[in-house]
């Protein structure tokens, strides 16, 4: 157990220290997303959309940061670790592989939260948006379950993408843009219609974002499902994704040991 925790913290460390050492995140992680957010804000203003939409967009912009983090720092991570030679050192250590993935997720979550918070705060100041929180504990639960489910999905991706080798990069880029659209980062998913929304809900951020919007902007009646329903679904997703991620990891490790392909480089 102590070994498990040490491993999680050990692996989270580079990510936590990274945010302090690499100042470029200010530009790439906060400034650029805010530009994207502004573009949508101006479109909505031009279209004379309800004022709540501006809040939607800012919240969406903040959540985008998590999605990018999951795609680029979780999903492609094991592949990258394989190429640098770290993966075999991880697999050789007498620790839980799940702990290593969790450390990666935890470090990513914390460092991304700093970015997301910056986007949220700066965004709402610039466009003077006021959020009124209906229920703090629901909001916290929604956020927690969304994150567990989302990073669970990221952990699953990281084992799966390893199997795809170099293709992993393309997969990540492929997933990036459509999800912006499908998960409704910049507009309420309800506007996509029922079935598309159901489909898009496989990505935990879709429902999480929808529930959070309902909770901070009660005046807008754009919720897809009720908050309680969405909370329930997110809880189920959290459990399922983390469980499946665990299985995928075992499968990946076994395959690596049997075929001897996965720990060698340059393929």
């Amino acid at each position: 157990m102590i070994l498990f925790l040490r491993t999680v913290l050990g692996r989270a460390y580079p990510r936590l220290i990274g945010i302090q050492r690499e100042k470029s995140w200010l530009i790439f992680g906060v400034f650029l997303p805010l530009l994207g957010v502004s573009a949508y804000v101006f479109i909505y203003k031009a279209l004379k959309s309800p004022p709540e939409f501006v809040g939607f967009v800012i919240l969406g912009g903040a959540m985008t940061a998590y999605w990018l983090n999951v795609l680029w720092s979780m999903a492609t991570q094991f592949y990258w670790e394989k190429e640098t030679g770290n993966l075999q050192l991880y697999l050789m250590a007498p620790t839980s592989r799940m702990a290593i993935l969790m450390g990666m997720a935890f470090g990513g979550l914390v460092s991304t939260s700093i970015r997301a918070a910056a986007i949220l705060i700066v965004g709402s100041l610039i466009f003077s948006v006021h959020f009124t929180v209906v229920s703090w504990w629901q909001l916290i639960l929604v956020f927690l379950f969304t994150m567990v489910a989302l990073y669970g999905l990221g952990m699953l991706f990281s084992s799966l993408f390893l199997l795809f080798g170099r293709e992993a990069w393309h997969l990540s880029s492929l997933l990036q843009e459509p999800i912006y659209f499908l998960s409704g980062f910049y507009f309420p998913i309800k506007s996509l219609g029922y079935w598309v929304s159901i489909g898009a809900s496989i990505v935990p951020i879709t429902l999480g974002l929808d529930a959070m919007r309902q909770l901070v902007m009660p005046s807008a009646k754009w919720g897809f499902l009720s908050v309680d329903e969405e909370l329930g679904i997110l809880l189920v997703m959290s459990i399922v994704f983390v469980f499946v991620a665990h299985r995928a990891l075992l499968y990946m490790e076994n395959l690596a040991r049997r075929e001897g392909r996965l720990t060698i480089r340059g393929q």
Binding site: I2, L3, R6, T7, L9, G10, R11, Y13, P14, I17, G18, R21, E22, T84, G85, N86, Q88, L89, Y90, L91, M92, A93, P94, T95, I100, A256, R257, R258, E259, G260, T263
Partner: protein, 338 residues
């Protein structure tokens, strides 16, 4: 259950399925290890010597639980690597020579600390060991440098230090001095030797294709080629196989045909190959008088003698005797793919 061996393999076979690209069904299985039987005693410094592609890394990967054997068994400290990998991992560590470890953004110290956490070390022990190892590899002044600022060799040294941090019972070093300068290699070799000597119950298995390294360092050496162990003994005993034989190395002006030399009576083993604009001929002779015939054969073939050297048998000669080719010759032929 014999617990006396630190490492023990029985009939170890590893077959790689080489998958061809573009979906043609033909997949040629490749036997990288072909029935390896070996025993390494606790406290031994054991060397695996062989050319590129011999199967050294494959064997190490199996022993460090990164790869499963296709058939046969391998035990490390009495524990079966296939059945109980987690138990094996608690007792081992491995350093692969050309490799680095960790993340560029972290300092050397921080990188090493991260790895100690995967072994559950408490902070105090971790700091102590990191400090000591950095001193040994001569990186103390770089402890606080970000590791992306290190030179390739310094990164390798950091990785070398990593291997000792969990104080493994059995340590695997895969060509540890690969690409390091002479001075550093010497320091690391000395440390390795000391590490095994001063810590009872520690075992070290090292692969190399530097003959001198194996000779100088190892208690026992196994010579491996094409997945088979050809001989396994102390360096002195291996060389004793050639006792009474005379070993000559001749450099002559370039020669196209060298086959004729192996047919000369009295030549027990011969290898010849081109090197830097001349031809090197290695002879193991039953009887020194054969040299006269060799010299006249050289003359008849139109070449000129550049140098002639008689020496005590080295491991290189043992290798030639066993394989019929010199190590460097094999590596030129295979183009050194590793």
């Amino acid at each position: 259950m014999s617990h006396s061996w630190a490492i023990e393999t029985e009939n170890l076979v590893r077959i790689y399925k080489v998958k061809h690209k573009r979906g043609d069904a033909e997949s040629a299985p490749f036997k990288a290890l072909d029935g390896v039987n070996s025993q390494v005693g606790t406290g031994e410094l054991f060397g695996l010597l062989g050319p590129n592609g011999a199967g050294k890394t494959t064997l190490i990967k199996i022993l460090t639980t990164l790869l499963l054997p296709t058939s046969g068994t391998a035990r490390v400290d009495g524990v079966d690597v296939a059945a109980n990998p987690q138990e094996v991992r608690r007792r081992i560590n491995m350093v692969s020579g050309g490799d680095t470890c960790g993340y560029g953004l972290l300092t050397v110290e921080e990188n090493l600390w991260m790895f100690t956490q995967f072994y559950g070390l408490d902070n105090k022990t971790a700091r102590e060991r990191i400090g000591k190892m950095l001193e040994i590899v001569g990186l103390q002044d770089k402890a606080k440098s970000k590791s992306y600022q290190l030179s390739t060799g310094q990164k390798q040294k950091m990785n070398f230090a990593r291997g000792f941090l969990n104080d493994p019972k059995i340590l695997f070093l895969d060509e540890p001095t690969l690409g390091l300068d002479v001075q550093t290699s010497r320091v690391l070799r000395k440390f390795v030797k000391q590490w095994v000597r001063e810590r009872p119950g520690r075992t070290l298995l090292l692969t190399t294709h530097y003959m001198a390294e194996a000779d100088e360092l190892c208690d026992r050496v196994a010579i491996i080629n094409q997945g088979k162990i050809l001989a396994c003994d102390t360096p002195a005993n291996l060389k004793k196989r050639l006792q009474g034989a005379s070993v000559f190395k001749l450099h002559v002006t370039p020669l196209e045909q060298t086959e004729l030399f192996s047919d000369l009576p009295g030549v027990s083993n011969f290898s010849g190959h081109r090197r830097n604009g001349h031809t090197e001929l290695n002879f193991i002779l039953d009887d020194e008088n054969t040299l006269v015939k060799i010299l006249s054969a050289v003359q008849q073939s139109g070449a000129h003698l550049i140098s002639l050297d008689k020496h005590e048998p080295t491991l290189e000669d043992v290798f030639i005797d066993l394989v019929g080719k010199s190590l460097s010759e094999i590596e030129e032929q295979t183009g050194s793919v590793s």
